[in-house]
Amino acid sequence: MTSPRRLKSVDAVIIGYGWTGAILAKTLTDAGLSVVALERGPARDTSPDFEFPRIADELKHAIRGDLWQPLANETVTIRHGLNDVAVPYRKYGSFVLGNGVGGAGVHWNGQLWRASPEDLSLRSRIEQRYGKKFIPPEMTIQDYPVTFGELEPHFDHFEKVCGVSGTAGNLRGQIKPGGNPFEGPRSDEFPTPPLPGIFSAQLFEKATAELGYKSFPTPAANSSIAYTNPYGVRLGPCNLCGFCERFGCFLYSKASPQTTILPILNGRSNLEVRTNSYVTRILLDNTGKTATGVLYVDDSGREVEQPASLVVLSAFQMHNVRLLLLSKIGAPYDPASGKGVVGKNYAYQMCAETAAYFSEDVEINPFIGAGAAGQRVIDEFNSDHFDHSQLGFIGGSLIYAGATGGRPIDQMMVPPGTPSWGAGWKAAIRKHYRHSAPLGTQGSVMSYQDRYLSLDPTYTDGHGLPLLRMTFDWHANEYKMAAYSASKMEEIVRAMKPDKQATILMRPGNPYDVRIYQSTHTTGGAIMGTNPSNSVINRYSQSWDVPNLFVYGASAFPQNIGYNPTGLLAGLAYFSADKLRGAYLKSPGPLISS
């Protein structure tokens, strides 16, 4: 066996060059550090990788997933319960993993939400409002160790970086018409105005108004105008092209690391980005309390050691957890005893969908849409915005109307009872394609003692290392939450007066089904908290066990929210970056004593 090639030490090494990797690369190179960013996938940029017309290829991008992590060499294994045998997630379905420069920030929807203030202090809030007994014993939710007020300046900054289009609903405590009245107080307006709603969103707006709800445009990292962000990077207006989520944006409209941060980092002499570099381990010294760098396999297949004084772990949520476990950093979570923290509190989202089928004189034009822009949403039944006391569950959902492109392989809607093939199917697709609209709920999932991440005992990646194993299924709380949210959605759809409507909803008895796309908002496993016994990282995203290691991404969420995660995880990254630069770099060591 040859020993790894050992490179010259650098100040900081970044693992994963997506959103949080880019945010930290900027912070650390601004501070003058020498930085190496290691990205497992290839280099990618708007040109040539997302150029029109070749990007407008549903089969290549939305079905085969050429921008996604190839599963052939590494996937996760999944089982429903603690006593089941996990099997590999062999084909994409339930969630989609990013790959390459920009990560999933290339092919996300661009729905850029802040968390609600109450999401960040969920356990305290529920206990105060409903009593301690309201939380089932197996539910392991906990407060974030950081408040909305502390994160708000960073939410605001990230929205400006992304040119987010939207309408403020709570400006410095004043409720504003047309926005989300449930959002936490924001210090500023959205940087760009919303695009007009697509037709189904307009029908939704009318129906929700009749029912007394306050709908608003989905906050969209699809810039609506020509816009220059705080870093001097220009974005262009979104044209609702319909090739948004699952695709890279050819118009420089959808915010991605490429369209917002990387242009000012490219060419920095103190930053080196190495693509096709697959990190296999974070290296520790003999005390086990200091990271000395990382081990990775480079693009020619050689094993390389990159020494560094500071390690930034900014891969996707699942990969963060797997690398911690592979590196033996922190105590792995044990579901039997509830002890250990790495892998703890894996959570997901639970979604429902109602299809509205209109008559043939109602032109929905489903192909006009974006991942976020043009959509409309209500927040009445999300988070703790409504009284749960008689409902018997915790959490909630967004309810939205939003076609993202009406792409026919993946997004064709025909009513239940339609045959799946033959002449009947062929007639139905013509009858319904132009006249159908999807509505959806996106709901929170709480964390539980028996839902977690660990290393798989059997299956390995292309380098012979264990895959990550997910143990997950729905709990009663989530079935109730989703049914309640769906009942509200169905009421709205009835008010939109379609010819018919049909709902897909996970009901008790329906296990987690990995074949059906639901959400890529996987969370937890390296959660943040107030002390090493309840968390992997502190409020500044710093590892309790290895203080020169910082971990970023939705792996930090103690439980999931009904919102999309990128706004919250970016806010947490900027909050940490401030502290890193202001305190840690001056005096490296634990930022909070444990």
């Binding site: 190839p70 007009p196 697509i198 192909f367 799946s420 033959g422 002449a423 697709i429 999309n564």
Partner: protein, 224 residues
């Protein structure tokens, strides 16, 4: 909310009245010459016959043959997709796992067709005395339905696995951009009213509910 549509319309087929009950023999032939690279002659006959029942020429609207679906499928078999490069195919395999845990077979798409078609034709010979492609259209529909529902037990690839592969690839070939070999002349996009790779609705955002007037364009075709 990277929302992909749930499986509306995925209900199993049960109503014989919804498919053509004509007694004509299945007469699937490619409407223009294409020599398959992957599929062998008996396999190719099976593919032609099967896709022409999955999306038949019957009634208005283009069938799978007119749309070039067989050519699409054959070309896909020569790409990394056909060789299974998109999927994790390391063992051990647990095909007995709950279906909700997803695909757990050891086969690449190429293998599913190779093994599955051979077994399906053997089953057709056993039950009907002839290969699938020689059956009358109504018998072909019944046979496909028995594959879909798993009423037919094949020795290698599970019958629903073969059927699912066929139906998935057939719809991909029908609806994908013509650069991939199917959806010839954008017939499927014209049929449903999808404008393809236009990808520019700037002047249509403020005309909600009004029918979009422009014909589809494809990635490799003229843009008018």
């Amino acid at each position: 909310m990277d929302r992909r549509r749930f499986l509306f319309g995925a209900a199993p087929v049960g109503l014989a009245t919804l498919v053509s009950a004509g007694c004509a023999r299945g007469t699937a032939t490619q409407s223009h010459s294409y020599a398959p690279t992957y599929f062998r002659p008996p396999e190719w006959e099976f593919v032609l016959a099967a896709v022409s029942r999955l999306i038949p020429a019957d009634g208005p609207g283009p069938g799978a043959i007119e749309a070039g679906v067989p050519e699409f499928i054959d070309r896909q078999m020569e790409l990394p997709y056909g060789h299974g490069s998109y999927f994790y195919l390391k063992g051990p395999f647990h095909p007995e796992s709950p279906v909700t845990l997803g695909y757990q077979l050891r086969y690449t798409p190429r293998e599913i067709y190779r093994l599955g078609i051979e077994a399906a034709n053997a089953a057709a010979r056993a039950s009907h005395g002839m290969e699938f492609a020689r059956l009358e259209a109504a018998r072909q529909d019944e046979f496909l339905e028995s594959l879909q529902k798993g009423q037919l037990v094949l020795p290698t690839v599970p019958a629903p696995g073969l059927f699912g592969q066929l139906l998935e690839n057939t719809k991909e070939g029908y609806f994908s951009d013509p650069i991939h070999g199917g959806n010839r002349d954008m017939v499927a996009w014209n049929w449903i009213g999808f404008p393809g790779a236009r990808a520019d609705f700037t002047d249509w955002i403020d005309q909600p509910g009004v029918k979009y007037p422009y014909a589809p364009v494809s990635i490799g075709g003229p843009r008018t």
